[in-house]
Amino acid sequence: MTTILQPIGRTFLNGLSAMGRLTLFALVAVRHCLTPPFYPRLLARQMIEIGYYSLPYVGMTAVFTGMVLVLQSYTGFKVGAEAAMPTIVVISLTRELGPVLGALIVAGRIGASMAAEIGTMRVTEQIDALSTLSTNPYKYLIAPRLWAGVTMLPLLVGVADVIGILGGYFVAVHKLGFNEGNFLKNISDATDFIDVFSGLVKAAVFGFTITLMGCYHGFNSKGGAQGVGKATTNAVATSMILILILDYFLTELFFAR
């Protein structure tokens, strides 16, 4: 019996310990985000990296998601599709697909690159070098990334919402022959503030999660190239899982009554 329980207990305790370390890391990182010195040049670089360079990937995902949504809804509904479709497209994109798919794409792109970059800096002692040069690594490396993640993800998701709806419009009007004026009016009527707002809040939370995971795993990587590879994998995998878990709780927070 003991031989069965011991590994289970050890795994459980290791899990708790890892959560504790992550929480401490997050608290320290947030504290450094809010206290000077700030590095605007580094923040701008991270905002461009996360926001501007992710735009083509998120945009492509959004446009095809919008197109597929319309096509799937049309083939599914058949009768009454023209009236129901705008609501389906708007709610699906703004509440769910925009923030979640956008965040998953950014997690794969940015989470991996952050973990690899910071992980390489760790194993080549560049992070130690920062400390010896009177520069706090949390303020220099972590804070600009967290700020960029929290601010850029909502912007990306906002753009993705618009592009996704345009994709849906294109298929609905030009392929399925829906009335253009009706489609746009229904889209406008179906758009509620809370749908868009909840999606943007989700995006900010996901942005924080992705950058935190990338920084945490990179910052704590060890053991050379293999360690950096492991950190990169862990950063992406944990980000993606956390995005889906947090999505449920945020949805419940906004819409469960």
């Binding site: 130690d128 400390s131 040069l133 009177s134 520069t135 706090n136």
Partner: protein
């Protein structure tokens, strides 16, 4: 006399799980002198230097810098003490996203808030002091050879004219000629800024070139300390085995490193 000591370490302990790496290190570094600590791979040299630098928290013991206890010091005060330090890392640890001059000027710009133009002038002067042309300043670390990276690392270590400079295996991975160049540069630069130096190495030639004093660490303890010139006549069988590089003797090399 304690006031003559720039660094004073007493009873320093550090373990990773059940593996005891430092087991009560006592070490004195006199002001203005260059102390070289020798020891085999995995004997705790790097852990000791990281504890003194504040990059690692020791489990027990005392570290005094200029007579001031730094173990358990609040982070803000510790950052102030850090300003006294310069460090040349084993692999140079240059920031590969920044050009060479910005690497050298990094501590001045980021750590001390100096204007970039002024910091660049100082950086180019320091590069010149380690024998590098101003054009090198615009290159990136990946474009440099190992020896040039070490020179840039040395220029960065002395850029802010620190009171204490640490050297972690300064000649490892270099050919003998470049190793000698680096040794000579270390001596010149330490004299130039009037710093106290603490180096760790297993290169005996380097020890003789850059050390005023020497100490040997083995199994987490300092087992011998004295003047560098006396290292060949230490009378200590461990030191003798290490200095002469004999496979047979009292030293058993650990398999794992830290």
């Amino acid at each position: 006399m304690s006031s003559d000591l720039k660094i004073k370490v007493r009873g320093l302990k550090k373990a990773f799980g059940s593996n005891v790496v430092l087991d009560g290190v006592d070490l004195d570094v006199p002001r203005g002198k260059s102390l070289v600590v020798i020891g085999g791979s995995g004997t705790g040299k790097s852990v000791m230097i990281k504890c003194i630098l504040g990059l690692m928290q020791p489990d027990a013991g005392s570290i005094e810098i200029d007579g001031q206890e730094v173990v358990g010091m609040p982070a803000r005060e510790r950052e102030r003490v850090m300003r006294k330090f310069g460090m040349l890392f084993q692999g140079a640890a240059l920031f590969d996203s920044l050009p060479v001059w910005e690497n050298v000027a990094f501590g001045l710009i980021s750590g001390r808030g100096m204007k970039r133009g002024e910091a660049k002038e100082i950086a180019l002067r320091k590069l010149s002091a380690v024998g590098l042309q101003p054009e090198v300043g615009d290159l990136f670390p990946a474009e440099l050879s190992g020896g040039m990276q070490k020179r840039v690392g040395l220029a960065r270590a002395i850029a802010a004219e620190p009171e204490i400079i640490f050297f972690d295996e300064p000649t490892t991975g270099l050919d003998p000629i470049m190793a000698q160049v680096i040794n000579e540069l270390i001596v010149t630069c330490v004299d130039m800024v009037g710093a106290t130096a603490l180096s760790i190495t297993h290169d005996m030639h380097s020890l003789r070139e850059i050390g005023d004093n020497a100490a040997m660490i083995y199994q987490g303890k300092i087992i011998w300390a004295g003047e560098a010139k006396d290292i060949d006549n230490s009378g200590n069988p461990y030191v003798e085995q290490f200095v002469k590089g004999k496979a047979e003797g009292p030293i058993r090399m650990p398999v794992r490193s830290f």
